[in-house]
Amino acid sequence: MARRSLTGTVVVITGGARGIGLATAHALTAAGARVAIGDLDGDLAQRAAKDVGGEALGLHLDVTDHPGFTAFLDQVERELGPIDVLVNNAGIMPLALLDEESDETTAKQIAINLSAVIHGTREAIRRMKPRHSGHIVNIASVAGKVGTAGGATYSATKHGVVGLCEAVHFELRGTGVEISCVMPTIVRTELAAGLKQTRLSSQIGPEQVADAIVAAVRSPRLEVWVPRYLGTLSKVVRVLPRGAGEAIMRVGGSDRLLASAAHAPERAEYERRAAASAGDGG
């Protein structure tokens, strides 16, 4: 399949003022796209847009406010034109053992990491399907494929996003609309503050995820693992007996990775911000 040009395409990125979202905004702008950054922190979104350059737009966006999310997409279409690519990137990862997590923290993760992605995906399909073109990129995580102690709700919401993308992918066949599910390992952003590097979890930079997203938009495919070898690894681990797979997790240190960071002082600031994020779940 010929590589698709990104010149002049309109791209929306939720949670685009920081981390993976911001790196993706830079990479897509460099590839010629016109980018709209939505973020809970409207000022930061505007600053990020200015920093990204081009015609980039920075707007306040609370993805858990579904009518507000829809209105935001309407505004982008008014200002930049029909949306070609929607990157559902906004996400939070508060860490705790499940029995120590509060109901509010659970609700917030489900609202931001899953329900908002469902809403964004549906909104985008309704806009893109009549035009027979468009691409929805949902940022999940490797935690959407394997369970993680200390991040059970997070992992559950990311599994949900993976399941959503897989199912919607089949519904979209022949419509001209594409969907991709991005599964990065631990990325050096604020979200991963306080997490140790283990043998199986060397961290990557947000730029690496951004590059993978650009490549996936150019040549659409459903599963986007970052780094790529994790896709192969996950397939191999799946056919091993469960005991062997678990042994790999233990030897690699992956079984305690998140749980051991739950109370790390380096995470305090991120955990506070994540706890204050979003409205009340919408």
């Binding site: 899953l114 469902i118 549906r122 394997v146 959503l164 089949f170 459903l222 799946r238």
Partner: protein, 288 residues
């Protein structure tokens, strides 16, 4: 597996959504094993009647799993009246079928509340009770739709994937605690939930009793992933090795790619869809 089977005699078991389908079949199987079974279901009258029909010692309580405070209060009451809960089976679930873009926000919210958030709450609540006692078993009934693509039920599939991820994560957290957790992945089961869905080569429906048997076995010999029928385990495992294009072709060749989508407009589902749409008073903003 060589380990001796755990006895279920006298064990106190709570089953959500226990008045029908898989829940009811499981209640029946566990009553036969000598367990003290409590079924919770949304419809009080139906629940009382089902309890009486299943067995003389089976208790039926009204339960809306999306009302978390009410869910916890019901478990408190059971522990007060009968004793410490040994086994919680989070079984209540709904599957409205539609193309993803046609689904209403209310239907999405209801599925997330019943299929995902409620078992999460139940799991957390049960851990709080069981961990100090260093024993207990939590069983979350997910679905094969929690591990394979399910067009026509995308939100359902997302919620069931979420339950799989939740259960797998919690299994790591519970290591060494004495508390077990299992995730049940049934294929399409012959219950009201599957009404109007055509049988295809890859999707013969199974009877709820098959799932009940697998749940009983998983309680006797604890294991994390419980497939029903068992053959699904190997299919799931090895199909993962196929290149995506081949997997996609298999879905198409077996009709699995439009299995649920085809059922959207069948009149046979009307009753089920209507009941499901009215199923969660606590999560429905229109009925606080």
């Amino acid at each position: 597996m060589a380990k001796q089977a755990r006895s279920l005699r006298g064990k106190i078991v709570v089953i959500t959504g226990g008045a029908r389908g898989i829940g009811r079949a499981t209640a029946t199987a566990l009553a036969v094993e000598g367990a003290h079974v409590v079924i919770g279901d949304l419809d009080a009258e139906l629940t009382a009647r089902a309890a009486k029909e299943i067995g003389p010692d089976v208790v039926g309580v009204r339960l809306d799993v999306t009302d978390h405070a009410g869910f916890t209060a019901a478990l408190d009451e059971i522990e007060r009246d009968i004793g410490p809960i040994d086994i919680l089976i989070n079984n209540a679930g709904i599957m409205p079928v539609s193309m993803f873009e046609d689904e209403t926000p209310e239907s999405t919210a209801r599925q997330v509340a019943v299929n995902f958030l409620a078992p999460l709450h139940g799991t957390r609540d049960a851990i709080g009770r069981m961990k100090p006692r260093r024993r207990g078993h939590i069983v979350n009934v997910a679905s094969m739709a929690g591990v394979i693509p399910t067009p026509g039920a995308s939100t359902y599939s997302a919620t069931k994937h979420a339950v799989v991820g939740l259960t797998e994560s919690v299994s790591w957290e519970l290591r060494g605690s004495g508390v077990d957790i299992s995730c049940v992945l049934p294929a399409l089961v012959n219950t009201e939930l599957a009404v109007g869905i055509q049988r295809t080569r890859a999707s013969r429906t199974i009877e709820p009793e098959v799932v009940a048997t697998e749940i009983v076995n998983a309680l006797k010999w604890p294991k994390l992933m419980v497939f029903a029928p068992k053959s699904m385990a190997a299919i799931t495992k090895w199909s993962g090795l196929l290149p995506r294009a081949v997997g996609d072709k298999m879905m198409t060749a077996t009709g699995s790619d439009h299995l649920l989508a085809d059922a959207i407009t069948t009149g046979e589902r009307a009753d089920y869809e209507a009941r499901v749409a009215a199923s969660t008073p606590a999560s429905d903003p229109a009925h606080p």
